[in-house]
Symmetry: C2
Subunit: 143 residues, 2 copies
Amino acid sequence: MDQVFHALSDATRRNMLNSLAGGERTVSQLAEPFAMSLAAASKHIKALEHAGLIRREVRGRTHVCRLEARPLATAYQWLAQYSRFWNSRLDVLEQLLREERKTPAARTTPAPAKPESSKPESPKPESSRPTSSRPTSSEGEDQ
Amino acid sequence: MDQVFHALSDATRRNMLNSLAGGERTVSQLAEPFAMSLAAASKHIKALEHAGLIRREVRGRTHVCRLEARPLATAYQWLAQYSRFWNSRLDVLEQLLREERKTPAARTTPAPAKPESSKPESPKPESSRPTSSRPTSSEGEDQ
DNA sequence: CTCTAATTCAACCATGTAGTTGAATATAGA
DNA sequence: TCTATATTCAACTACATGGTTGAATTAGAG
């Protein structure tokens, strides 16, 4: 897990994964978009491999890499633990409730000039589905 | 994003987030489970803060930390890009198909697969629903 | 005001990371 | 066989990380 998140913490490596999502790539193909030596790219690839995120097949003199997504699923599931903190619009409300528990009185008076007046709808916190928000561009560069 | 994944790449910090999922924690409370100096724990906390994963409120002489989940959602969504590689039982089949496309003949003969387009492209975001992800225990240790 | 608790700061050390360059290895192809 | 291509290896530099210790800062409490 450490290895996986560490591998993901570098934009070069994330871009390489993006590239691999489009199919198999050789080392030089993976390295081509980046302004660095092949040796440097090779190290990045090794980091990805070490994290179990890619698999390498040596075909003659070229090394063909392919995405190995399972560790990403593990990371994804780890993050899903926290989905209740963002995937209902209740995050703010939940916060309020947490404070409420410590301060049982008050809060009954309307319009307390507080931020948000969100409707407490469908209290289904679970499901861990990615929020309807946009798929984070993912185009070309990776912010 | 670099910061977020980097913050997540350390088990100490992941455990701290786990702790924060249970509510607000002071610096010493966060540090307590770990066999390291307070100064070291403080640095970890600063890393989490720098990644935007926690918010700190100074209450008197204690610093109270709370989880800030939005960046986790971003990371989650980034990973969701790749869900198509694991969240159908088709991952293996998909794999086979990819090879099939290059080897229109029979899969029985060891054919010389040709590499495909060399331009890195981004994956299709697709549905990005978690397979059946259960919130990975979250008990005590973090594998 | 003084003592103590909560936390950071500064300096330091060992190790890891990301990059470089140049040489080594191995294979495809003329 | 000779040569060009694909890739790694080794050595080196610069800087980040994760940890230490001891002193500094700030605020609650007597």
